[in-house]
């Protein structure tokens, strides 16, 4: 077992975003969390990252909890947050060096990893010497992903990793996620890009109304490939959706 969540609840004011959620994500899985906008996917990930304090419930990563050993949990966790907060005064390379120091990587090891990750994602390496403030959304995202993976965490959590990436970078990320997944690691992704989810997911969780409507393997979700993920998701979330809502005004 790697990520174990039980009884997780969180409310913002009167709105209960997560209601007594139980999930176990095992090593070897690439678990993709799906759901409509504002359903609480990022809140769920932020609770796992200890960025949001849950109202109730326990979260343990590799049998360790934030309560008992927060440093050990974080050392083993790599994350790309929703708002990808980088330090804009730093260059991309400075930021990655800074992160490597936070994880206490040996300088030579860090330099080697940074070089390989930046070579992988950036064709224009010159831009890595400029302030992050001037980067495009996609470039910032690539720096954020590189920072998340730099210390080879056992648990990798990516919130909307494909958003803002060009098709080439997105495919590179798909390849990276596939090769990163192994029997000792766990990957948790929240995404709306179902084309890419289809390529990386081994397990799916569908969050709706504060609870998991579905939690299981991709095969089961798509009925052994009879449906695509988007079709399966549409059927699950909107079985009675009236596609013929009065939109006539738009047609004429």
């Amino acid at each position: 077992m790697s990520i174990e969540i039980s009884g997780l609840s969180k409310a913002f004011g009167k709105k209960h975003v997560l209601k007594d959620l139980d999930v176990t994500i095992d090593t070897g899985q690439c678990y993709c969390l799906l759901g409509k906008n504002g359903v609480g996917k990022s809140t769920f990930l932020n609770c796992i990252l200890d960025l949001i304090q849950p109202d109730a419930g326990t979260i343990s990563l590799f049998d360790k909890t934030y309560m008992l050993d927060p440093i050990a949990v974080k050392q083993n966790l790599g994350a790309l947050c929703e708002d990808n907060p980088l330090i804009e005064e730093f260059t991309g390379l400075e930021y990655l060096n800074f992160v490597s120091r936070l994880y206490r990587l040996a300088p030579e090891e860090a330099a080697q990893r940074i070089a390989s990750l930046t070579n992988y994602f950036f064709t224009d390496r010159e831009s890595l010497h400029k302030n992050i403030a001037g980067y495009s959304t996609g470039m910032k995202k690539k720096v954020g992903i590189a920072a998340a993976i730099l210390h080879k965490p056992q648990a990798l959590i990516l919130d909307e990793p494909f958003t803002g990436l060009d098709p080439i970078a997105a495919q590179l990320l798909v390849n990276l996620i596939r090769s990163y997944r192994n029997a000792n690691r766990v990957i948790l992704i929240s995404s709306h890009d179902l084309n890419y989810v289809e390529k990386v997911a081994t397990h799916i969780g569908v969050l709706n109304d504060g609870q998991l409507m579905y939690n299981g393997s991709v095969q089961e979700f798509t009925m052994n490939g009879a449906n695509l993920i988007d079709q399966a998701l549409f059927q699950l979330l909107l079985p009675h959706h009236n596609a013929e809502t009065n939109m006539d005004w738009m047609l004429t």
């Binding site: 949001i52 974080k74 800074f98 001037g134 495009s136």
Partner: protein, 454 residues
């Protein structure tokens, strides 16, 4: 230590990486200004020491210097635009909270602004024999206290405080210890006794500890709360004001600050029959609508740029653009005007004509200047005027302050009211000229507000 040194070095390098010449020039100007102010204070200290010319004692002059330091450092975090607290190390990284706190605190202090302030203090120490080493160290403690006060306020603005958490109680106890010591021996009051310096250091220690516990009690950011309204009649400007938590807080902070200054003057008037504004002329600035304009025209493009784009996409007309610019101004200006005119009605009949004319002239002057600045030098605001990472237009900030200052010239002689129509006419003429070029400027506006990706 490795993280700290790396962060500080990268921060310094970051300041000078882009627009290097301009930033070096600004730093040089800052150091020269620090020298000028040091000389000014050393001259005042000498006058105070010799006696006769000024009524204040050297101790009082040094007290004013420390208070000025305190006020400037705290206010620069809020004026003309709110500067968010730097989150150098995110919470996802495996760094102990205490190490994160110290690293961030020290990295925040590595800035050109503090460098200039330290230059001011050091030059004052060299120029004025009355300003001893103990005074210098005490001023450094005041500087640190002001910075910790600023980051405490930033925590309250940006984070959700867990009021019932043990960390908050510990922060409250530590803050109470700081306040108790300050009430007994205020830090800004100069003293040559080294033992008192130890007391001040202890007070600062309490305050820093309080700040640390407060941060631990408030580790979640505030969520944006939007007030939905089903009534279309409710004014959009009211909703813009109400729904933008940060803008609302900052404006209220500014207005409360103004209210305190007006209240102080009103109290002095009630007690002695004299206005403190007549003795300290610079305080007249706060009677005008500067606070509101400072916020609206320095923040409007940071906060409401999407409103501009929506209007620009829907009609593309400069008239709608002006409407969009003025929309966020209405509610804060109304509040400011009510505050000012209440003060005039009840406490200041003597200067009523001046205040009313100056206030109206300021609106007529600063509104076109603000719109011109927004078109000609659009900036998505993130920092304050004294912060070198600021994105405020320095040029237009100084132009606005200079023109606004000219509205106070009638205090010297009533004939100088004749300047008002000239200034307003000039601003309106410049606005018309700029609006004619709006179709050209609007593309630059988009590039500045929304970075165009290559």
């Amino acid at each position: 230590m490795d993280v700290l040194i790396f962060s500080c070095r990268a921060r310094v390098a970051g300041f000078f990486r882009q627009k290097k010449e301009l930033r070096v020039l600004l730093l040089a100007v800052g150091i020269v200004l620090a020298g000028v102010y040091s000389w000014l204070f050393s001259y005042l200290l000498k006058l105070a020491h010799d006696g006769g010319t000024i009524t204040q004692s050297p101790g009082q002059v040094l007290e004013y210097a420390n208070l000025l330091l305190l006020a400037v450092i705290i206010l620069k975090g809020f004026f003309p635009a709110y500067v968010p607290k730097a989150e150098v190390i995110q919470r996802i990284y495996p760094i102990r909270p205490l190490q994160k706190f110290w690293t961030e605190l020290i990295v925040e202090l590595v800035s050109p602004f503090y460098f200039i302030v330290l230059n001011f203090l050091f030059l004052l120490f060299l120029m004025a024999p009355e300003y001893t080493l103990a005074h210098l160290l005490q001023s450094v403690l005041v500087l640190l206290t002001a910075h910790v006060t600023l980051r405490t306020l930033q925590v309250f603005v940006e984070r959700k405080v867990r009021w019932h958490h043990s960390y908050f109680y510990m922060a409250a106890v530590m803050a109470a210890s700081f306040v108790a010591l300050q009430a007994r021996v205020p830090m800004f009051r100069p003293s040559s006794e080294w033992l008192l310096l130890v007391v001040h250091m202890a007070a600062l220690g309490f305050f820093i500890t309080a700040n640390y516990f407060l941060e631990r009690a408030a580790n979640e950011p505030r969520r944006k709360v939007v007030s939905y309204s089903s009534t279309a009649r409710r004014s959009l400007s009211w909703r813009l004001f109400k729904n933008h938590q940060l803008a609302k807080q900052m404006l209220l902070f500014g207005l409360v600050f103004k209210a305190i200054i007006l209240a102080l003057d009103a109290t002095a008037y009630m007690r002695k029959g004299e206005h403190i504004f007549d003795q300290i002329l610079s305080l007249w600035m706060f009677v005008g609508p500067l606070v509101v304009f400072s916020y609206v025209f320095n923040n409007v493009w940071g906060f409401y740029r999407n409103l501009w784009l929506t209007i620009e996409r829907s009609s593309g007309s400069y008239k709608d653009f002006i409407k969009a610019s003025l929309m966020p101004l209405r509610v804060p200006l109304l509040m400011d005007a009510v505050l000012t005119f209440l003060y005039v009605t009840f406490f200041n009949h003597e200067s009523a004509l001046f205040i009313v004319l100056m206030y109206i002239a300021a609106i007529l002057l600063l509104t076109p200047i603000g719109i011109i600045a927004s078109i000609v030098s659009p900036k998505a605001v993130k920092g304050g005027i004294f912060s070198f990472s600021a994105k405020t237009s320095y040029l237009y900030s100084f132009i606005s302050i200079a023109l606004f200052s000219m509205l106070f010239l009638p205090r010297i002689h009533p004939l100088l009211y004749l300047l008002y129509p000239l200034l307003i006419g000039g601003a309106l003429f410049a606005l018309v000229a700029v609006l004619k070029e709006y179709p050209t400027y609007k593309h630059k506006l988009f590039e500045a507000l929304y970075k165009v990706e290559a």
